[in-house]
Amino acid sequence: MVTVRGEIDLYTAPQLQSGLLNALEDGARRLVVDMSGVEFCDSTGMSVLLSALKRAREHKGTLELVAPKPAVRKILEVTGLASVFTIQDSLDALPLAAGSGSTA
């Protein structure tokens, strides 16, 4: 589980990128990104999430976004990325066996 807070933009995206890639390099196969604390996310942030999703897939893993705020979710929809990412409405919706589960 990676928890992201604040604003994701050109300046902060590299930090998010290294956090996500580190988690994948540490062997995480199912990366759950808690987006509930993200107030703002621009196209650079979307690109970083997408790049991590691709990296996860290369390792036969998944990346899920959880509880994006409505404004962020709208941006995912506008850019078509809502259909690319697995998006969970809330942390409660996650299967209990986090870490071993997988989503199709």
Partner: protein, 150 residues
């Protein structure tokens, strides 16, 4: 009340958030609803991020904002490399870049990018606020200041 301001910033990645803070506060105190604020701040961020990424060799850029009763007009100018939006292809669904322009066009009524004879590149973003003023309360009331989202 009309609000007009200009900010000149160094062409550095950290300044896009500075622009957002400044513009966001101006929009908030002008009573612009949360949804419109988000749209305007995102479009402005995309325009400024493009300048930071591609505006070499400009050392700085400027954001001019005019908040009129029914319209928000932003102009982002710099004197770096020309930017030609027609050369930006529509991104594939899974492409990792090229969404900035797409977002700006979706979020704003007008997006115009022009190169001027003196070497200035100007991105003009315009959003009508008329619909915003009529938005139901669950979208935020445009007549009253909203809490700052932090």
């Amino acid at each position: 009340m009309d609000v007009t301001f200009s900010i000149a910033l160094p062409r550095e990645a950290y300044t896009v958030a500075v622009m957002r803070d400044f513009l966001g506060e101006a929009l908030r105190s002008s009573g612009i609803c949360a949804e419109c604020r988000f749209a305007i701040l995102l479009a402005a961020s995309e325009a400024c991020a493009n300048v930071v990424d591609h505006g070499f060799p400009a050392v700085g850029y400027q954001v001019d904002a005019r908040l009129l009763p029914d319209t928000c007009v932003l102009e982002i100018t710099h004197r770096g490399r020309r930017f030609n939006p027609s050369r930006v292809p529509l991104p594939d669904l899974e492409a990792e870049s090229g969404r900035g322009i797409l977002l700006m066009r979706h979020l704003m009524e007008d997006v115009a990018i022009s190169g001027e004879p003196d070497g200035t590149t100007r991105v003009l973003l315009r959003k009508r606020l008329a619909e915003c003023a009529a938005a139901p309360p669950d979208h935020g009331e445009c007549v009253a200041p909203q809490p700052v989202l932090h």
